[in-house]
Symmetry: C2
Subunit: 92 residues, 2 copies
Amino acid sequence: MGRIIVEVMPKPEILDPQGKAVGSALPRLGISSFTSVRQGKCFHLDVEGAVTDEHLAQARRAAEEVLSNPIIEDVVRVEELLVDEGAHGDAQ
Amino acid sequence: MGRIIVEVMPKPEILDPQGKAVGSALPRLGISSFTSVRQGKCFHLDVEGAVTDEHLAQARRAAEEVLSNPIIEDVVRVEELLVDEGAHGDAQ
């Protein structure tokens, strides 16, 4: 099974209230290294078999037409998700 | 400026109504390659200067304590975002 990841972020000039809320909460936990927090969306699109160029083209179309709102968001990543990256519990 | 990306996905056993809704919408656009769609969140955490191990440790703590709900979500990625990856408009 192949997997494609799509990442969508608010455009830099767009206010991001969710990111701001997270950014304000972190110092209360003693986490104050971060100068900016932005929150976006990511999607895992699974395909049967290996990921092909055709799958990636469809994923890009899906990203532009369904997964993002081009007025306020940018699609920042559409690519095959490699096994060693998206594995659950791999954040240690 | 350095940037860390955090990706949070619903646990595999958790229903994901947003992903399901997207998955149902795609065939109406003629996009039918995808057997499953899951939607998660991603965060860009910016730091001054280069990303250090200390920044990554704080990002992991933030991911576990603020950015995700460990009951229903997994933190699937916490790492430095390389320039060639998170660049806006880089999805071609």
